[in-house]
């Protein structure tokens, strides 16, 4: 099927239609003020708001890209970056098939999900200890083997 045979749609996304873009940006403004004054973080779930085609992009474009950019590899990739407004972060979770499973705007000093988690550190410490023990054991074994010969 050729493109020409398809009806052409021009769904307008001018300022006329974007009646949820400005409120969200203002919500971010209030949240940033709250973060500055009380230190309290906020999260906005972009999936919970009715948006016209292109409106999510408009919000993301307006927020732009700032200094920090991080990638996660946890049950599929996640993209986390600070927007050009310091303290406003955009977090996009993908699944293993690279489709978006969640998109949040977090107004915080540092997103929680980037912090190393207590449970993971406990497992990590265990693992490191085990590996070191194993290494020293195998060192000993080697020296023992050498003395034996």
């Amino acid at each position: 099927m050729s493109d020409a045979s398809l009806p052409q749609f021009n769904i307008q996304i001018g300022n006329d239609l974007t009646w949820n873009v400005q409120p969200i940006l203002h919500e971010i403004r209030h949240a940033l003020r709250k973060l500055l004054e009380t230190g309290e973080s906020s999260i906005i779930d972009l999936r919970s708001i009715p948006l016209a085609p292109g409106e999510e992009e408009t919000i993301i474009d307006t927020l732009g890209c700032g200094e920090v950019h991080a990638k996660l590899n946890a049950l599929g990739p996640s993209e986390i970056y600070e927007t050009r407004f310091t303290g406003v972060w955009l977090i996009t979770h993908f699944n293993e098939e690279s489709s978006i499973i969640g998109r949040f705007i977090e107004i915080t000093r540092f997103p929680d999900i980037l912090k190393s988690q207590h449970e993971d550190m406990t497992i990590a410490l265990d693992q490191l200890e085990q590996e070191l023990e194993h290494a020293s054991l195998s060192d000993q074994n080697e020296t023992e083997a050498e003395t034996n010969t």
Partner: protein
């Protein structure tokens, strides 16, 4: 099998950790889950806490007079990772489309699950139940009614997935040849969650399952037994085309300028104003689009009797009958009766004046 049994006693947190899933992955999973359950992101820590401790419930899924569209919808839930985690964390013990076992083995699995988890298992039903003649729909020689009543007895709660199970749906449409009824029409003593839609949005199905898994409770329901988190607002109120409605800009046909410009579809019969569902925010196909975004009016598939609602392409404010004809006939009849009544009145008047006799002085003197 032994592995399966041992997993049943573990909490979800333990299951995930034994699979080598990090806490960070788990938090991501919780964030996606919160989003899926339409809960505010501030609930993420609560969800994490509850999911950590959640135990793997047994689920029995019964399919009656249905088209398997609901199961198709569910298995096409696009947040694959999250869904697979959830399905890892429930024990789907009976689902005659998805299970490997067939025949007697399948029924044996259902009976075993019922016995083992008596009073604790979750019953999911899709499809309506024929009350007219049990022969219209049977499974392994058991009528739908008998199987539902038997299985419901030991269930902790029932989830009616799809409009058929929730409200009777298409089998219930006029003239309802099979005498189809919904689950809530015949079961009155169990908590029932209705998850209507034809089919329901996949993440709404999993969202309700996850709610039960996470909190072990029934979510807050509306007057039709639907979870308010997903069915709390009308399509119309959450529709991105709503500003066009308010401005009075409508598509008049499917291919006019208004349709091309994405204006409101009210005049094309959109049932958005009377339909409650999450389509406008959750959307379909992994958040890609939903019918109105694709240029088609909402059919109102999550509402009772949507099939008999007077036509999909007739606006809600339009009468369903031919009122033009009615008006013409009524006007003609009105004129006829009016003239007749008027004429009778005139005749009465004429005969009265004819019969009128003048009184003379002679008469008075008599």
């Amino acid at each position: 099998m032994t592995n399966d049994l041992s997993r049943k006693d573990k909490t979800l947190g333990e299951t995930l950790r034994s699979q080598g899933i990090s806490r960070r992955s788990f938090l991501k999973f919780c964030a996606a889950t919160a989003s899926m359950m339409a809960l505010p992101p501030s609930m993420i820590p609560t969800i994490a806490n509850a999911l950590e401790k959640a135990r793997r419930p047994s689920v029995i899924w019964l399919s009656f007079q249905e088209c398997t569209g609901c199961t198709e919808s569910l298995t096409r839930a696009h947040t694959a990772t999250v869904e697979s985690l959830i399905f890892d964390s429930i024990s789907l013990d009976y689902h005659h489309t998805l299970q490997a076992a067939a025949g007697h083995a399948a029924e044996a699995a259902r009976e075993a699950a019922m016995e083992e988890n008596n009073g604790k298992y979750l019953l999911v039903v899709d499809g309506s139940i024929p009350l007219d003649n049990p022969g219209y729909s049977t499974i392994a020689g058991i009528s739908n009614y008998d199987m539902l009543m038997d299985t419901a007895r030991g269930a902790a709660a029932i989830i009616s997935v799809g409009t058929c199970a929730a409200f009777g749906g298409i089998p219930h449409a006029k003239p309802n040849p099979t005498g189809a009824v919904s689950v809530s029409d015949i079961i009155k003593d169990k908590p029932i969650i209705n998850v209507p839609g034809c089919p329901p949005i996949p993440v709404v199905i999993t969202g309700v399952l996850t709610h039960f898994l996470t909190f072990g409770t029934i979510p807050e329901l509306d007057n039709l037994g639907r979870p308010k988190t997903f069915y709390g607002q009308s399509i119309h109120d959450r529709c991105y085309r709503r500003p066009f409605y308010d401005k009075g800009l409508f598509a008049e046909t499917f291919d006019d300028e208004g349709a091309r410009l994405g204006w409101c579809l009210y005049k094309l019969g959109c049932k958005g104003p009377t339909s409650y569902n999450a389509c406008a925010t959750t959307k379909w196909n992994g958040g890609v689009s939903f019918p109105i975004e694709a240029g088609h009016p909402c059919l109102g598939c999550s509402e009772p009797d949507f099939w008999d609602g007077g036509g999909f392409y007739k606006a809600i404010s339009m009468p369903t009958e031919n009122i033009t004809k009615t008006t013409i006939y009524a006007a003609a009849a009105g004129v006829a009766v009016g003239v007749a009544v008027g004429a009778t009145g005139r005749m009465k008047k004429a005969s009265a004046s004819k019969a009128h006799q003048k009184v003379t002085i002679d008469d008075l003197e008599k």
